[in-house]
């Protein structure tokens, strides 16, 4: 796309040289001479331009709003310093929302990971014929195919006091309306809706594990569990870490699903940071406070991002 020249010392240029015939490495000195120093920037450029214009600009605006009063709803907003931050952080509902979000996110992500790992192992099992694996794969990605509104409406229907779930269990539980069950119920729905993401990525990751690693492990006398622990998991680790990070961030801002099933209720038991922020903006018309809440969420996730980046560096 943008980079066509590279400076290498080797003369025998053979641009199209598949399949890969690995040559033994010739020491680190060799590596340093590969490529032009500006090259990585060229690779990053399209991403950087897009993100700068369409993501960083609005985010900077939002950060600006968080220090103002009555943005958008008034023509001349005033600078109020950190007043908004004090107001949001001392709001009791914010603490509740933070706690719920943590529960919802951590339980969802752990369940996504376990289900994703379990299902992808099952789907990859050589014990089952190819055709039936193909059928199961299609069934297993079904929860993925629907927009949040439909998932919300569908589960509301299933979990209705007069709905199918109660009929099948011969119970009359108010799954979503009872203050003691609602948070668990929305978390369950989110688990259902989100595990295919892990499953598919791990399934793809499993294909990348060289079969000879398993062969070697078997020769060494490793049983199934040992092979899983010593070969599969370490090989999938980079993917698992990336996905866990992404899922943590995404789940923590899940909005539509919660809003359309419980609206953050009953009382505040399913109130999340996302619903809290939404209500500030579109129910109370306090767009500045909503921006403040968004900035706080951004700061919280920076911590996550920091660990992720540090982890990456450590691995390099």
């Amino acid at each position: 796309m943008m980079i066509t020249t590279t400076t290498t010392l080797t003369e025998s240029a053979e641009p199209s040289a598949p399949p890969p015939t690995p040559t033994p490495m010739q020491g680190p000195a060799r590596r340093r001479r590969l490529g032009h120093p500006g090259e990585p920037y060229a690779f990053i450029a399209p991403t950087a331009v897009l993100m700068l214009v369409l993501m960083i600009v609005p985010i900077v605006l939002v950060i600006g709003y968080s220090f103002m009063d009555n943005v958008i709803t008034k023509k001349n907003p005033e600078f109020v310093g950190i007043e908004n931050f004090v107001e949001v952080l001392t709001d009791g509902v914010f603490a509740t929302a933070l706690g719920n979000t943590l529960f919802f996110t951590i339980v969802s992500v752990v369940a996504h990971l376990l289900l994703g790992l379990g299902f992808s192992m099952l789907l990859n099992s050589p014990l089952v014929s190819r055709a039936s694996r193909a059928v199961f794969r299609v069934i297993y990605i079904l929860p993925w195919l629907f927009t949040a509104a439909v998932i919300a409406v569908l589960w509301r229907m299933l979990l209705n006091p007069n709905g199918v779930v109660n009929y099948l269990l011969s119970s009359d539980v108010e799954w979503l309306s009872s203050p003691s069950l609602a948070l668990g119920a929305v978390t369950f729905i989110n688990i259902w809706a989100g595990y295919p993401f892990f499953m598919i990525s791990l399934l793809a990751g499993l294909q990348g594990i060289p079969a000879d690693l398993y062969e070697a492990a078997t020769v060494d006398g490793a049983n199934g569990w040992q092979r899983f622990r010593n070969v599969t998991l370490p090989q999938l680790r980079p993917i698992i870490i990336s996905m866990t990070l992404l899922d943590l961030i995404w789940t923590s801002q899940q909005f539509a699903l919660i809003w359309m099933t419980t609206g953050g209720g009953p009382i505040h038991v399913t109130e999340m940071l996302s619903t809290f922020t939404y209500k500030l903006a579109f129910s109370r018309y306090e767009f500045a406070l909503a921006s403040t809440s968004a900035v706080i969420i951004l700061l919280l996730s920076m911590v996550l991002a920091f660990f992720y980046v540090r982890h990456q560096r450590a691995r390099d």
Binding site: P20, F119, L246
Partner: protein, 284 residues
């Protein structure tokens, strides 16, 4: 000798039964709600809330599907969704593969801050970005256009795609592509001829997910379009949730219709999940 073979066969059988039981249980968990959705799409609106519930009712009909498929406005929603989602998938993959290559194979000065920004920007609740973002799109003249939606979704999907592709590239031995570069080929060659072909399963899974994000997004699709000829399937579905009542069966039928082509696409790409790599190709 014979006894060990028998016990081994028996062990294998037990394992197989367990795996199949596990698969069936998972399928029930994943599939039942969707089965119910399918059932609703064939019912009349009255029967959907009857108690005790039934899977199939007397008024079984394809009416909901017919209503949708004969309405040119709704068909247009599907066309729009395809144009937007396919474009987003293609562009995102290309741009993300380039960036992921840089993150995975190069050391450069702003690597860590850039990485950090890419990870954390995703955490800003989209609902708060809505208003400034909308103003930006109006200013750029992208309001109510395909490029407006496509660029928007690219911004949403790129961080994910880059992180995942970086992860996949990291699982591949460096020696593989460096060897080619040592042999004098350029980085582009190393990337597109070596890394990309062996990363196809990863690319497919990232692509599928990118497609799904673009396909299912509602809030920005609604805000960034204003005329019916620009709107996408999720908006069409929400339009069936009226102020006073819902068109349950049509809503479900529209969701099912939207998912079928995606399923077919998935079936087509499945071989990349099955085939995988032969043990020889990534030996280092």
């Amino acid at each position: 000798m014979t006894t060990t073979t028998i016990s081994r066969t028996r062990q294998r059988m037990t394992k197989k039964v367990l795996v199949i039981l596990g698969l069936l249980a998972g399928a029930a968990f994943a599939g039942f709600p969707v089965l119910w959705m399918l059932a609703i799409s064939f019912k009349s609106n009255t029967e959907i809330f009857e108690y005790p519930p039934r899977l199939v009712t007397e008024s079984f009909s394809f009416d909901a599907y017919v209503t949708i498929l004969t309405d040119p406005e709704k068909v247009r929603f599907f066309v729009n969704s395809y144009v937007v989602s396919l474009s987003v998938t293609a562009f995102t993959l290309v741009v993300a593969i380039l960036a992921a290559y840089a993150f995975s194979r190069f050391e450069f000065r702003f690597k860590r801050p850039l990485n950090m920004i890419i990870v954390s920007v995703q955490a800003v609740p989209p609902i708060t970005l809505l208003i400034p973002y909308f103003g930006l799109m109006v200013t750029l003249g992208l309001y109510n256009t395909y490029p407006g939606l496509i660029l928007t979704y690219m911004v949403f999907t790129l961080p994910y795609a880059i992180i995942m592709m970086t992860g996949y590239f990291n699982t591949l031995p460096r020696e593989l592509d460096e060897a080619v570069r040592v042999d004098g080929a350029g980085s582009m060659t190393a990337l597109w001829r070596i890394l990309v072909p062996i990363s196809v399963p990863g690319i497919v899974s990232v692509g599928v997910y990118t497609f799904m994000i673009a396909w299912n997004e509602y809030l920005f699709a609604l805000t960034l379009t204003k005329t019916q000829d620009m709107r996408t399937v999720p908006i069409g579905i929400q339009l069936l949730m009226g102020q006073h009542s819902y068109e349950w069966n049509e809503m479900m039928a529209m969701s099912i219709l939207g998912s079928v082509p995606v399923l077919i696409l998935f079936l087509f790409f499945q071989r990349y999940f099955i085939g995988g790599l032969t043990s020889g190709s990534v030996k280092s």
